[in-house]
């Protein structure tokens, strides 16, 4: 998916660059002083309309796919509690006591079944981003002190997943990670 977005971006960027280049060259070639508009700020309603319709369609397609609505009507097969702290993740199948955070040594989750992560933080804001065995983000949410974010996901590919912190949290932010397996 990420590469598809990169491709979309590159195509659009190339089109825009091309338009600017063509327009620039057309001006360089022009030798007629009188051509050109007296006021370029004239109405170009259709141009905005096209943009508006394109973005409208894009919104209609993408909004229903927002993470808040994912698997909202299903019951999770497994619940995992996550407490993030500087600079660790504690994960447990049971609720975590914030004063004495204790987690499981290893977390194993079923493939193709709904898992719910209940993510919070014990100190500052952290991120909870799940990376697939091939190191692409598949899902993420924030870990915010005082709040619990519910992230639901179905893992299709079995293997070892890595969690990285994606909200800057201080000196050791870059090494804050954990793993779990999907079977």
């Amino acid at each position: 998916m990420q590469y598809a977005l990169l491709l979309l971006f590159l195509v659009l960027a190339a089109v825009i660059a091309l338009v600017f280049i063509i327009v620039y060259l057309s001006s360089k070639k022009s030798d007629d002083e009188l051509k050109g508009m007296a006021n370029p700020l004239q109405k170009r309603f259709w141009f905005l309309l096209i943009l508006f319709v394109c973005l409208g369609i894009f919104a209609l397609i993408t909004i229903p796919r927002s993470p808040y609505y994912l698997f909202a009507k299903e019951q999770p097969a497994k619940v995992v509690h996550v407490a993030a702290g500087q600079f660790f993740f504690t994960m447990s199948y049971k609720a975590i006591n914030p004063d004495k955070p204790e987690g499981e040594m290893t977390i194993e989750l079923p493939a193709n079944q709904l898992v719910e992560f209940r993510v919070t933080s014990l100190d500052v804001n952290h991120g909870f981003a799940i990376y697939s065995p091939s190191k692409q983000i598949v899902a993420q949410t924030q870990a915010m002190p005082g709040y619990v974010n519910l992230l639901r996901w179905k893992f299709e590919e079995p293997g070892t997943y890595t969690v990285h912190c994606l909200e800057y949290c201080g000196m050791a932010h870059q090494v804050m990670q954990t793993t779990f397996t999907v079977k």
């Binding site: 977005l5 825009i16 700020l41 905005l48 974010n149 994606l166 909200e167």
Partner: protein, 480 residues
């Protein structure tokens, strides 16, 4: 007398911005080198570098836009020399405090200083209050400046005129509002809103800090406030640059002045509104935020970019297409800057889509797109203005040399630097990592490439800046 004062101040603003810009680029290159493994900074030092790079860049391009708008505004209304000077003094004090708190005090909570990180002190204890007070100093200086410019406009134009409402219905109203005035006012009002948010934010943070934990803030509320301030100021500073372009692009190109039409008036009035709601996209991954606000965030992000960008791009394109115009370094910079801004905008719209943000949030995609419309957009708007200003008002006029060389370096360096960010973003490489865990196989190489291209960009900036710099120094030293 006052107009001369403003001119001199503008030259001082330009000098200060250019010096800080070059220093901050060097800090940026050091970060990329560290991420690539060529340099080994202590992580705390890296993050202090990141913090001061971010806040300095935001600050200087904001004041660059303000200084330019203030200078041009003198054509229409009388502005206050004292407010301009006050802002200049406060900015210098604030910036010195920021640099001391980060580079000496080692404060490294990031330029967004997201609560409660600034209070989890992992640096000199005095650095946190110093950083926050520095922001307060900047905030006061800028509030005074913004208010004085708004007052100056409102002395000449009524409320409905300054927002060009008379253009909604009437094709040829008696009083015309120049696009420059309209866009300046819209931007100033947006800046005012976000500075007020910053004041509230600082008051809440100080309340917690000085009550020693008796008063505790709500993390979600503070995050909303932080991004209302941070996102909005980063956007409005671009609009300040655009106001200048609407005024100077036709003038430098030797074309008739652009005039406000009803659709330009409506587009910018809509922008004022939507841009203030777009910041919600920074909280997409906070699932506890009310869902309605998330959707508002996506729609407002689209709608904030649509009218202003649509109108501006289209206007510039039709102004140039098959039209013989006088090309100079300034309008070329404006032209390229607009392309960079729009391309960065495409990257932003992709990321402002919630279902994509799920995969891109806080990856290097984010610095990729905002560096696009800053380093290859807004910076070029301001450099275009600086160049025009320094040539127009200095006694040292000479033929512009090396233009195409400078521009090729700028394009090559800028595009390469940005490409390294975009590709890494698509590879899920996190932003704000001092070094990359080994699993991110391509991240180091991309960082090193980014550093190399950024150096090319720096060389181009050096070439541009040195002549502008000399002319401005001359203007300040010699009474003219």
């Amino acid at each position: 007398m006052e107009a001369k004062g403003i001119k001199k101040n503008t030259a001082i603003w330009i000098i200060a911005v250019l010096v800080l810009f070059v220093l901050s680029i060097i800090l940026g290159i050091i970060m990329r080198l560290n991420q690539g493994g060529a340099v080994h900074l202590d992580p705390g030092t890296f993050y202090a570098d990141m913090t001061i790079h971010g806040i300095t860049m935001i600050g200087i391009w904001f004041v660059a836009g303000m200084a330019g708008v203030n200078f041009i505004m003198e054509r229409y209304v009388k502005t206050s020399y004292r407010a301009n000077t006050f802002a200049l003094v406060m900015t210098v004090i604030g910036v010195v405090m920021l640099w001391v708190s980060t580079l000496i005090g080692d404060f490294h909570a990031g330029w967004t200083f997201l609560y409660p990180l600034p209070f989890k002190i992992a640096w000199s204890a005095w650095a946190t209050p110093m950083f926050l007070w520095a922001l307060a100093v900047l905030g006061v200086g800028w509030l005074v400046w913004v208010l004085s410019l708004m007052t100056a406009l409102l002395k000449k134009y009524s409320i409905s005129q300054v927002f060009a409402w008379q253009h909604f219905r009437n094709k040829n109203p008696e009083v015309e509002t120049p696009p420059f005035i309209l866009i300046s006012m819209i931007s100033l009002l947006g800046v005012l809103a976000c500075l007020i948010a910053a004041v509230v934010l600082l008051v809440l943070l100080f309340a917690e800090y000085y009550s020693h934990g008796a008063f505790v803030n709500d993390a979600l509320l503070i995050k909303n406030l932080t991004y209302f301030f941070g996102h909005t100021i980063a956007n409005e500073m671009l609009y300040l640059g655009l106001a200048i372009i609407y005024e100077l692009f036709p003038e430098i190109s030797g074309r008739p002045k652009w005039k406000t039409t009803w659709y330009v008036a409506i587009a910018w009035n809509l922008t004022l509104f939507f841009v203030l709601l777009a910041f919600f996209h920074h909280l997409y991954m906070d699932f506890v935020q009310p869902e309605g606000l998330q959707i508002v965030g996506q729609l407002a992000s689209y709608l904030a970019s649509l009218p202003s960008a649509g109108v501006t791009v289209f206007s510039v394109i039709v102004a140039v297409y098959r039209t013989k115009i006088k090309w100079s370094l300034s309008n070329l910079l404006f032209f390229i800057g607009i392309a960079g801004w729009v391309i960065g905008g495409v990257g932003a719209v992709i990321d402002a889509t919630i279902s994509n943000n799920f995969l891109l949030h806080n990856t290097l995609w984010v610095p990729a797109h905002f560096h696009s419309y800053n380093a290859m957009g807004n910076v070029l708007f301001s450099l275009g203005f600086f160049h025009w200003f320094s040539v127009e008002y200095s006694k040292r006029k000479g033929p512009e040399r090396l233009s195409s060389l400078k521009l090729s370096f700028l394009l090559l360096g800028g595009i390469g630097f940005l490409a390294a960010f975009y590709v890494a973003g698509a590879e899920s490489v996190p932003r704000r990592y001092s070094s990359y865990p080994v699993e991110f196989t391509s991240a180091k190489l991309l960082a090193t490439l980014g550093a190399v291209f950024a150096t090319v960009y720096l060389i181009a900036i050096f070439l541009f800046v040195s002549s502008i710099f000399k002319r401005c120094i001359n203007m300040v030293l010699h009474r003219s």
